[in-house]
Subunit: 249 residues, 2 copies
């Protein structure tokens, strides 16, 4: 995190943000204030590598805006994208359980605003603050559920179905009727996120359009009928539509 991107703004915005993010909302106001003061804000541009897998982790991070790709890669450059996260999400919060090392590499994919906090703070709370720990645990439980489903999806769903599932999770599943959504980031990245090649994504999206009557215009996609889409994609999934509570991230 380069020093010259440090802002001189007051700490109030960090503080109000922390109040809304679940593990930190359990902190005492004083302690939260302390954390806010320790936060280092930066505005890394697209392409910026924030940290690398297995490097020592002095910080954990809170994304305020933008998008960040989390990934691991092999020596010969093949890379596995484990997640692409945005505002409100934590990053490297598992480092305390990984010998204080980063569990993945991180690269900014849409210009972001990110706050770095000392990992020591997190470790202290986890060892001394039961309500905080419980909240952290609940977060992690959600993540685990999501990962479980992710593995399932990669086994059971083919490329068009994985895309359809992804699109459904971008929809407002409480509403019925047509709705228009925007891909939150590059198609190339969505492809990587779903574990397929860009070319496969392109072709699979065409296939999905033919099967489910969605309308595609660049990054804008109109879901004409959620039922038709879910009938096609959720056939290869253990959960029924609407996908109870898997909607975050």
């Amino acid at each position: 995190m380069s020093k010259n991107t440090q802002t001189v703004e007051s700490r109030t915005p960090i503080l109000t943000l922390l109040e809304q993010i679940s593990p930190f909302s359990t902190l005492s106001p004083a302690r939260r204030q302390e954390l806010a003061l320790a936060g280092i804000v930066s505005f890394p541009p697209k392409g910026k590598i924030l940290f690398l897998y297995d490097d020592p982790a002095p910080f954990f991070y809170l994304i305020k805006t933008g998008w960040v790709k989390l990934f691991r890669e092999t020596l010969d450059g093949a890379q596995a994208v484990t997640d692409i996260i945005t505002g409100g999400h934590l990053m490297a919060e598992m480092a305390p359980f990984e010998q204080d090392r980063y569990p993945y590499s991180a690269e900014v994919v849409e210009a972001a605003e990110i706050i770095a906090f000392p990992l020591s703070f997190l470790k202290k709370e986890l060892s001394q603050n039961p309500p905080f720990t419980l909240s952290f645990l609940q977060n992690l439980a959600h993540v685990r559920a999501r990962l479980d489903h992710e593995i399932e999806h990669r086994v059971l769903q083919n490329a068009p179905q994985r895309i359809g599932c992804f699109l459904l999770r971008l929809c407002d599943q409480t509403r019925s009727g047509p709705q228009t959504i925007h891909l939150p980031y590059d198609k190339t990245l969505v492809a990587a996120r779903l574990g397929m090649q860009p070319e496969t994504f392109s072709r699979a999206l065409t296939k999905l359009r033919e099967e489910t009557h969605i309308r595609i215009n660049g990054a804008t996609i109109e879901i004409t009928c959620q039922e038709q889409l879910s009938a096609y994609t959720c056939a290869a999934c253990s959960s029924e539509f609407p996908c109870r509570d898997l909607m975050r991230s």
Copy 2:
């Protein structure tokens, strides 16, 4: 869990087992005793379905011996095996975070001894016992790390490499030199666990033998050279051999 499999043995064995399993070792002796008394032991045979995905979960379980397959399936019968677990492992311990429902289905694949405990006990400890919760959290952190790598492996490794990686994790990675291992369960199950078809497994194992000079005799496999095996498999992985701490389960 059928009633007639309930044993009349004393509770001491349960108690000593609980002392060794990490979240329960943090319990007070009195509380642990209480839990042991509430445990229901059963000896389900191979093929027994213990519970189904999304069903209400009155219990969580501790496997004492045997093997259990955890999976989810679609309406048309396709199934995704998420894990195959054995003695010392917990099952359905995430139910409290899933509206008290089972997060997967479970089937005994090798005659097992299983202890069922009231989910309410677990929930109570998680809400009232910080050391217990922290221990639970640490377990979960390990699981998450494992799932992360699992997803990575499914993206980056081909079938022979996934098998090689699986075999390496069965080895004593601290020792070098040849060693003989046994597949812990059916090849068909290993295949499912690794997300491939039995036929693919068979052919991929042959390929692996040709590439790495392992020797195969039914379920018995001799690893003549771990280095050669890891050179072949770990090339498509972000972690280096020996795979730090991914060895459990």
